[in-house]
């Protein structure tokens, strides 16, 4: 939000969702630790974070299936949990898990879900057909869910989440476990929805997904927001334009190298097998190249969001 230009965007009627100091404890464990963020109308905010960072817990608090320990949640100027019913009428949720009714057909799934919103059957049918066309599933409308592939099911879950014409679409890892083709198809559809002005909240750990869809992002680690802002700006600020990767071997005297880089004010990250070097500008990049040239295995590549993510949350696998 702080990266938005123009003060008119700060008007209340443009804010779809505001979360302040939101906290959730499960016994002694703090799953979400005093996070605050907001989403403007028509924008997509992405929440990134490793497994167990608190992404799904946050989403579950927004829709009231997890009770917050403290903090406030305001959606469409109503508060959770007091006005949950009013809020949920205008929210669409794509859950991480597949919870379609396996015994029912595609169209039956959509119509029954619409009935939970008290949408009249005739309108529900019209919308369902429209959504099935949109997600390239119309031909499958009378197929029983258990006969469909993972990618098709995901698209039905998306269609289902849109059946009430939501003003806020919440997507919890919408393409998790899908093959590249299925993922691309969903991204393309989500981009179209975004172009039409759908406000979105997205959790993911696919960096490409976040880069393509989001305007702003939050990186969540161990329940805390460690950084928030616009993806490109974060890459620029935290990583710089390029990354060098050096493959380590026993012959390389790492201590010497680290010394040299730190003298030139160049940030590095180390994993057991690799050294990641982040020169912030051209001048430093030249220095790095000069140093690194003598080693057999290294690459120079443009930086990306994944670098930001790994730089901030650590290159090592953590045990939760």
């Amino acid at each position: 939000m702080q990266y938005q230009e123009g003060e008119n965007l700060y008007k209340d009627n443009n804010i779809i969702l505001t979360v302040k100091n939101l906290t959730k404890r499960f016994g002694k464990r703090i799953a979400v630790n005093s996070i605050s963020f907001s989403i403007l109308k028509g924008q997509c905010l992405a929440i990134l974070g490793p497994n167990g960072a608190g992404k799904t817990t946050t989403i579950h608090m927004l829709v009231g299936v997890v009770e917050k320990t403290s903090g406030t949640i305001e959606i469409f100027n109503h508060f959770v949990p007091d006005d949950l019913k009013k809020i949920k009428k205008k929210v669409g949720v794509v859950p991480q898990v597949d919870n379609l009714d396996p015994d029912l057909t595609v169209i039956e799934n959509l119509i029954i879900y619409a009935s939970y919103f008290n949408i009249k059957k005739k309108i529900a049918l019209e919308r369902a057909y429209e959504l099935l066309h949109f997600f390239a599933l119309y031909k499958r409308k009378n197929e029983v869910i258990s006969n469909l592939s993972g990618g098709q099911r995901r698209r039905i879950i998306l269609a289902r989440a849109l059946i009430n014409k939501p003003e806020l679409l919440i997507l919890d890892e919408p393409t998790i476990g899908l093959d590249p083709q299925a993922r691309l198809l969903i991204w393309e559809r989500l981009e179209r929805l975004k172009a039409r002005g759908t406000t979105m909240l997205l959790t993911s750990h696919y960096m490409e997904e976040v880069s393509r869809l989001s305007d702003n992002l939050i990186i969540l680690n161990r329940g805390k927001i460690i950084v928030q802002g616009n993806a490109e700006k974060l890459i620029e600020e935290i990583i710089g334009p390029e990354v060098f990767e050096l493959e380590l071997s026993s012959e390389i005297k790492i201590e010497n190298l680290l010394e040299k880089f730190s003298q030139c004010d160049i940030a590095v990250d180390r994993s057991p097998q690799r050294l990641y070097i982040y020169p912030k500008d051209n001048k430093r990049a030249k220095v790095v190249e000069k140093i690194i040239k003598e080693f057999p295995k290294w690459i120079r590549r443009p930086s990306n969001l994944e670098d930001v993510f790994l730089r901030l949350t650590g290159r090592k696998l953590r045990d939760q």
Binding site: H60, G64, V65, E67, L84, V97, N99, E108, Y116
Partner: protein, 251 residues
Amino acid sequence: MILGPIRVWQRNLKVWTKHYQASLIGNLGQPILFLIAMGIGLKKEVPQINGLTYLQFIAPGLVASAIMYGAALETTYNSYTRLTIQRSYEAVLMTPISAKELAFGEILWGATKGLLAGIIMLLALPLFGVIPSAWTIILIPLLFFEGIFFAALGLIMTAIASNYDFFNYFTSLVITPLFLFSGIFFPINEMSKFIRPILYSLPLTHVVLAARQLCYGRLTPMIYIYILVTVTLAIFTSILAANMLKKRLIK
């Protein structure tokens, strides 16, 4: 508040219509087989009880038992499947329907399935030479409340179950004893005075005794107590079940 449970009920009805045959046979098999085995098998050995043949004696109670089984099994095994494997409850909770509305919808559905089994049993009774009286019309709403009670009881089990095996305790420690000791197969008032109060305090007993009175049109003032107890139990157990399911669903 009433629309939410109806939507959940409608969803379950829709799924049920896809495989209702298997479901109905499952619910009706046991009471019908008992009727045949006990009623016809013991016909000559057991003398008349209060002027009824043994088959006539057990038939109304078996109708009540069909409702108990239909309702309680629906909200245990089937509801637990929706809760865990199919995760349907999670989908419902993403919509304006609340956890309690969902619970009441499940209870309503369990009661409906129980009642359906009970009505089919009633309709089948003439095949065994048992002709119900006109009072049986009053029995139907009472059986519905019985269904509500047992569906709610089952849903409480679902709310605390950690796996399917848990329901074995419920069926063998609650449902089967109720089936055997609620006065379906023997007259309670001929038991010793120490056992009688225990048997009269069982929830199914009230429905069995009311069913027998209504079925043969032999009403006593006790019928009011049977109805009152059943309706009260149904309401309180439902409220408890809704709160417990909510506790399981909302963390």
